[in-house]
């Protein structure tokens, strides 16, 4: 960037000496390094996630809307590195030029001083650099966040379909796009919704819906579990609690997915689940139990040591970090919960086979579980403040989940009593929805 300037003044008058340093050019070139480094540290490393626009418009329109603000932002933001560089150069610039001259054997040029306009140049170059970089990020964002219609059936074994992509955590962008697609298909496309409310041939099983709801519930449950963990982790001695799933919530193992529960009643209290356990042979049992106990003790001691010495703090995963990770992915939950609830509500008119019915209590219970987010002490307003992203994302997730539950309650209000729901879930629903 500094080259044209350097080129124009590459042969200054240096008292007949052959080579001497043009300090202005040197200053600008060094500033280029500095701006790059500064941007890398300040922006590139810290701001990694893609932001989805509230509504997706044509790319040209988005570019048109964004380009001037970007330019303005660049000029504002590049003021700081310019300012810092000026100060740094003022402090250590002398040493720097001296060392440079010595290394390359260039003669000292005492006469020439830097023109005052050079600071303006410095700022402009910084701004152009910022503008370029942010434009690149903007394009990256623009093209990656373009909504994609996922296929609802697997065409080849390698191809991705919507149901699978939802839980694809290794490819966050694919996951996000899949969730967005679910959200928009639930709302807009009756023909695509129909794919979920139909039975596959041959066999007459609702495979599409089953795989979808399985993945959705899996994603939501995993999310709730991470939240649970981060709430509990300060006390290591406490046993990990299984997220409270009421006994009657229907989460059958996958192989029973295709069976429909026609009556939708809680399990008959008359039948007793008999647990058959094979008691181990007494001779071999004892040492293994002992070993297990020793192992546990050792683990506990290790944990205490880790905690005391701050090893956990330095190398382990902080509970706060996992919450933050969760919240960074909050938009996924927002789309998924709304998508699934709109889909379920559409089923009341469009689902001819009653496919969705059996999963409704499961959906409601799982959504209610996300309320855990409200119990995060770290996310109370006092701790977080108004402008905190985490706090706002928490609000977005809870509000979306509440609206989804409200929608379900309103659509199925006449049948709500028939659903086998846990007591706390019903209580929670009553706070959300009062008819």
């Amino acid at each position: 960037m500094a080259l044209p300037v350097a080129g124009r003044r590459s042969v200054p008058e240096c008292d007949g000496q052959n080579y001497c340093l043009n300090e202005g050019a040197f200053f600008l070139i060094i500033s280029g390094f500095w701006t790059g480094l500064y941007y890398f540290l300040k922006v590139y490393i810290s701001e990694k996630h893609l932001t989805f626009p509230v509504i997706y418009q044509r790319k040209v329109l988005q570019l048109k809307a964004r380009i001037l603000p970007l330019l303005k932002e660049s000029f504002a933001l590049s003021l700081w590195p310019t300012f810092y560089f000026t100060i740094l150069y003022w402090c250590w610039g002398g040493d720097l030029t001296y060392n440079f001259n010595r290394t390359f054997g260039i003669l000292e040029n005492a006469k020439e001083s830097m023109p005052s306009l050079i600071y303006l140049h410095l700022w402009m170059f910084g701004a152009i650099y910022y503008f370029n970089m942010s434009l690149m990020r903007f394009f990256f964002n623009l093209f990656l966040t373009e909504p994609v219609e996922f296929p609802l059936f697997k065409e080849t074994p390698e191809s991705l379909c919507l149901q699978e992509s939802i839980t694809l955590q290794d490819l966050p962008i694919v996951q996000s796009l899949a969730c967005l697609d679910l959200h928009s298909l639930a709302q807009w496309s009756k023909s695509r919704r129909q794919a979920f409310f139909s039975l596959s041939q041959p066999g007459g099983h609702p495979h599409n819906w089953n795989s979808l709801i399985e993945n959705v519930l899996k994603l939501l449950n995993e999310y709730t579990e991470v939240l649970n963990k981060s709430v509990e982790s300060p006390e290591l001695s406490k046993p990990v609690q299984v997220p409270a799933v009421p006994p009657c919530a229907i989460r059958p193992p996958d192989r029973f997915r295709n069976l429909r529960n026609m009556c939708l009643t809680p399990p008959d209290p008359g039948t007793i689940d008999v647990e058959i356990s094979h008691s181990p042979l007494p001779g071999f049992g004892l040492p293994s139990v002992l070993a297990e106990k020793l192992k546990q003790k050792f683990q506990a001691v290790l944990n205490v040591i880790k905690m005391l010495l701050g090893i956990n703090f330095l190398f382990g995963e902080l509970p706060q970090a996992s919450v933050q990770k969760c919240l960074a992915n909050g938009h996924i939950i927002v789309w998924i919960s709304q998508g699934v609830s709109v889909l379920a509500c559409a089923s009341i008119a469009e689902d001819r086979y009653g496919i969705v019915q059996k999963d409704l209590p499961g959906i409601i219970t799982t959504l209610q579980g996300l309320d855990r987010l409200n119990k995060m002490p770290a996310l109370a307003r006092k701790m977080a403040g108004y402008d905190d992203f985490n706090y706002r994302m928490k609000g977005a997730v809870t509000s979306a989940v509440k609206r989804s539950l409200f929608n379900l309650c309103m659509t199925f209000s006449a049948y709500m009593k028939e659903f086998p729901l846990g007591k706390d879930v019903v209580l929670y629903l009553q706070t959300v929805y009062k008819a």
């Binding site: 509504i55 023909s191 706002r392 609206r403």
Partner: protein, 475 residues
């Protein structure tokens, strides 16, 4: 084209109270009681906001009245003006005429011009909105407060008030939520969270979300998406339409040439279409899936008011100059639900509302505000310079038509300021009118078989309703 002569006015000294099975009932205003005819609005709150219920508005200028002007040097004057009014004030001091062009607006007078409420700046009631699911009514008054009334007599009336909330222009309940209310005001939007269970009479601003953008002022109209996830706002001095993600305080902007500001936004009840109109000749109908738009323009003036039918395919509108109500059939892109293939190429004039004198009562003139009921059977129209509210029946078969139904008159000195329909009313439709005296009147339009039907069966049978009403209108 039909005209206002089809209407009948109530006898002298009587006010219209309700319409039962297509027949209007009126009574002398000294002992008027709508409950004598129907019990459908018995539980609704009785509201009369008199002037002494209003809280004084602080304009921030009270201190100035205490001081006398003195002569100081010009430079000193300038410094003082700069501190008080900023750079614009200083330039104004130098050259008063030149600044008026740059000064963007004087807010209240501009809002008064484009507002849906009649006589916005003076009348007590500025805006009323019913909650979509429960009988709860939010009323914005000229003292910059919003009061929330619910049918239960014992419950408290929350008062939403804060310093930031100046010159309220519009309010909207959030769909799929019990508690959230968005209030559009001069400088932005405040989304209040009013917990119906709490016993706090003045909810604090800390539970509210404040949304504002510097160049997006004054917000004159807002609309929630029917799923409650997006909020759209338009401002009279900004030609950008903002789509908000409320919780994240994030916006996307819709910007198209034409006009220097927007004055009205209405989301179609199905959520597929969005109507916006500029303060110039153009108005647009957006498709909410792709956010592309159809551009329409009126011949003269600007669109003053508009409303959607319940199916989201018909748009009724009126301009601020001509006293004519137009209708537009809007194209529906979604393949399976479309009954109508293409948009109409031009708007159909439906009703001539030229001002006339019916039995000594002046009716009609340019339209101020129009609303259609949630079932899409009735249209209520508020006029700019006459005080009655006209209620029409909307008929779609064999073609879109408006048929005169009844005229709602108030007390002799009262003028209607704003109108709204109850969102959930099983027995038909219920128009709510805010009068200039601060009284709120319910005007139920009841069909007795529907009312009894809804009593016996909690979930009203909509198919029965539509077949019934079509036959009743066509006879």
């Amino acid at each position: 084209m039909r005209c206002l002569t089809d209407f009948e006015v109530p006898n002298d000294g009587e006010i219209s109270l309700c319409e039962i099975n297509g027949r209007m009932h009126a009574m002398n205003y000294n002992y008027a009681n709508v409950n004598a005819f129907t019990n459908t609005v018995e539980n609704y709150p009785k509201i009369h906001i008199t002037r002494n219920l209003l809280h004084p508005v602080s304009s921030g200028d009270e201190g100035r009245a205490l001081f006398l002007p003195v002569n100081v040097s010009f430079l000193k004057q300038l410094t003082q003006v700069y501190y008080e009014q900023g750079l614009v004030g200083v330039t104004h001091r130098f050259h008063p005429q030149s600044v008026d062009r740059f000064e963007r607006y004087s807010s209240p007078s501009l809002i008064n011009e484009v507002s849906q409420a009649r006589n916005w700046s003076c009348d007590t009631i500025r805006c009323i909105t019913w909650h979509p699911y429960v009988p709860k009514l939010a009323v914005a008054t000229c003292d910059d407060n919003v009061r929330i009334f619910s049918g239960d007599d014992n419950s408290i009336t929350p008062l939403l008030r804060t310093k930031q909330q100046r010159n309220i222009t519009c309010i909207a309940w959030r769909p799929l939520s019990n508690t959230e209310l968005a209030v559009g005001h001069e400088n932005g939007i405040i989304v209040w969270n009013v917990d119906p269970n709490s016993s706090v009479a003045r909810p604090s601003i800390s539970n509210a979300m404040i949304l504002q953008r510097i160049e997006h002022r004054p917000v004159v109209s807002i609309a929630w998406s029917p799923k409650g996830d997006k909020l759209i706002s338009v401002a009279a001095c900004d030609n950008t339409i903002l789509v908000w993600d409320v919780e994240l305080d994030k916006t996307s902007s819709l910007k198209r040439p034409g006009g220097s500001g927007n004055i009205l936004v209405k989301w179609s009840p199905t959520g597929e279409k969005l109507f916006t109109c500029t303060n110039g000749l153009t108005f647009r109908v957006w498709d909410c899936r792709t956010w592309e738009n159809e551009r329409w323009s009126v011949l003269d003036g600007r669109v003053q008011s508009a409303c959607w039918s319940n199916c989201g395919t018909t748009l009724l509108f009126a301009t601020n100059i001509e006293p004519i109500i137009y209708g537009v059939i809007v194209k529906n892109d979604l393949i399976f639900s479309s009954d109508v293939e293409t948009s109409s190429t031009q708007a159909i004039p439906l009703f001539d509302a030229t001002k006339i004198d019916i039995d000594g009562v002046l009716v009609g003139g340019p339209v101020q505000c129009m609303e259609s009921d949630p079932k899409g059977k009735h249209l209520a129209v508020l006029f700019q310079d006459t005080s009655c509210v006209a209620v029409f029946n909307i008929v779609r078969e064999p073609g879109l038509q408006l048929i005169a139904s009844s005229l709602v008159t108030g007390l002799p000195e009262e003028k209607s300021s704003t109108i709204s329909f109850v969102q959930k009313f099983d027995a038909g439709a219920c128009l709510t009118i805010g009068w200039s005296s601060g009284r709120i009147q319910y005007y139920p339009i009841v069909y007795t078989d529907l009312a009894s039907n809804s009593d016996s069966n909690q979930t009203s049978n909509t198919s029965l309703y539509s077949s019934f009403s079509v036959s009743s209108f066509n006879k």
